[in-house]
């Protein structure tokens, strides 16, 4: 196992991973803050470092449609986008998932306008949560890199065969240089063999129609196969995580979730994405003060870590979910999911923060966690069903 230490911004790290994965076809349309990923890949193709077909397109809709077609033709494919770009792809997002096309997409999370805002919140990536994509998000540059390589293995696995999205927060990761361990090509090759032509390959020599009109029952049966693939994917994700650690770079992340100081935790905080690093610091601070709190970092939004959450919650007195995306008219996005899985087993407080990319530091997490513990200990949990918006600068 050979590792080379580099210093790269998140976007270049993802491009490096795509190169090592030996993709065949890339199509993308530029959008800040994602652009540097596909610019770097275009460079690699131009210089002959990556033997791939780079298709220039006139929109994100076409970008995803192009890699979708290439994936159905048997190619290993990649695209990347952000925010409005993803929304413009939305039609093809669903087609890809329902066609079991193992596409890998880099998604640099960015606010959806208006107003124009290029910073990070999580509404874009979570807008695909019901579609059948596997949806993961990195905490740091190394994880964005590792997840991108793993994504090809997970998406293309026979037991899965669904597209996968790797999320990384705008600027916090996409444009921030961090030390990165880059493996040897031979280690990646051993971990990631060429793609098998599954679930089927379009071939003009043997023509057939795909997704033709049929009885409604057929549609429901097809959705059932997608449902089953996502459930099986949970096993594959864990297996791939372990194997990657063994064969490629020694890092095992914990599968669908990362457990941080949870062993004896009575209070559990839940986050996902880059700010989980700040949340961990806040956990350390509270631990120093004697508060038994830990963090469950969600790595995969889909498939959702139902089983892991139930297990962690079984020893918890109370849970706080800090969300960077809101389901308007209901709750924070992950709060709805956590509440739905737990069905009232454990009291859950929902906090909405960092919307619009508002900077949220470890001090903010300390505030949020302390108030949560305090409310629980005083028995003031009646209103927890309604999310609390955290806006320390705002006078109302």
């Amino acid at each position: 196992m050979g590792l080379h230490r580099k210093v790269l911004i998140g976007n270049f790290a993802v491009a490096e991973a795509v190169k090592l994965a030996r993709v065949d076809v890339v199509a993308a349309y530029p959008i800040t803050p994602q652009t540097l990923i596909v610019e770097r890949i275009a460079d690699m193709v131009e210089r002959g470092e990556l033997k791939a077909k780079y298709i220039r397109v006139e929109s994100e809709h076409s970008a995803l449609a192009a890699v979708y077609g290439a994936a159905l033709g048997g190619a290993r494919v990649f695209t990347a986008t952000s925010s409005h770009g993803l929304l413009y792809m939305y039609e093809v997002v669903w087609w890809a998932a329902y066609s079991k096309a193992p596409i890998v997409m880099g998604l640099v999370t960015r606010v959806i306008g208006p107003p124009w805002n290029i910073h990070s919140d999580h509404h874009d990536i979570l807008s695909v949560r019901d579609s059948g994509w596997i949806v993961a998000m990195a905490e740091n540059v190394q994880e964005a890199f590792d997840l991108t390589i793993q994504a090809f293995r997970i998406a293309e696995d026979k037991r899965v065969l669904q597209p996968m999205m790797v999320g990384l927060d705008a600027f916090t990761l996409s444009h921030t240089a961090e030390p990165l361990d880059v493996p040897d090509q031979s280690d990646v090759d051993a971990f990631l063999p060429p793609r098998e032509p599954l679930p089927f390959v379009m071939d003009p020599a043997k023509p057939f129609a795909m997704g033709n009109l049929g009885p409604d029952e057929w549609t429901m049966e097809l959705r059932w196969t997608v449902w089953r693939s996502l459930e099986r994917a949970k096993h594959v994700i864990k297996e791939v995580d372990r194997e990657y650690a063994k064969k490629v770079n020694g890092r095992e992340y914990g599968g669908l979730v990362e457990r941080y100081r949870l062993d004896d935790a009575k209070y559990v905080a839940i986050t996902w994405g880059a700010w989980s690093g700040d949340a961990k610091e806040a956990v350390d601070k509270l631990r120093d003060e004697g508060v038994p709190i830990g963090l469950l970092r969600i790595r995969f939004a889909r498939p959702f870590p139902r089983e892991e959450l139930l297990e962690v919650a079984s020893g918890a007195k109370a849970i706080v979910v800090v969300d960077r995306a809101v389901s308007m008219g209901l709750d924070g996005v992950f709060s709805t999911e956590v509440r739905s899985v737990l069905s009232g087993r454990v009291p859950v407080k929902s906090v909405v923060a960092g919307i619009g990319g508002v900077d949220t530091s470890y001090r903010d997490f300390v505030n949020i966690f302390k108030r949560f513990v305090d409310e629980y200990e005083k028995g003031e949990t009646q209103e927890w069903i309604v999310p609390e918006w955290y806006m320390p600068w705002f006078k109302g």
Partner: protein, 107 residues
């Protein structure tokens, strides 16, 4: 009739995946065949009627029919397979001699 499947129901992941893929391909892919989308003739409320006296045998209706149900050879008046003709009227619309008339379907 009632089905439930989660990560903890998985027994033999490869075998279960094979079953899913088989079902997926069966429901998703159709080879070229007559009537792949069922008897689309039942959709029809208007039917195309070719007036042979006006027809100049140009084949435009054959070229444009979205259901591929017009049979035509150069020099011949085309004929239409009414089992699958869905009555859309494209043929009547493209016919340069207005030789195709759309007539209300009698049941």
């Amino acid at each position: 009739m009632w089905f439930r499947y989660s990560a903890s129901h998985v027994r033999d992941p490869l075998k279960e995946a094979e079953e899913d893929l088989e079902l997926f391909r069966k429901r998703m892919l159709s080879p070229p065949m007559e009537g792949a989308a069922g008897p689309t003739g039942t959709w029809r409320i208007m039917k195309p009627v070719i007036h042979e006296d006006k027809c100049v045998k140009c084949g435009m209706c054959w070229l444009y029919c979205p259901e591929n149900v017009v049979s035509w050879e150069p020099g011949r008046v085309p004929s239409i397979d009414m089992t699958y003709c869905k009555g859309c009227g494209v043929c009547a619309s493209v016919c340069p001699r207005k030789a195709i008339e759309m007539v209300v379907e009698e049941v």
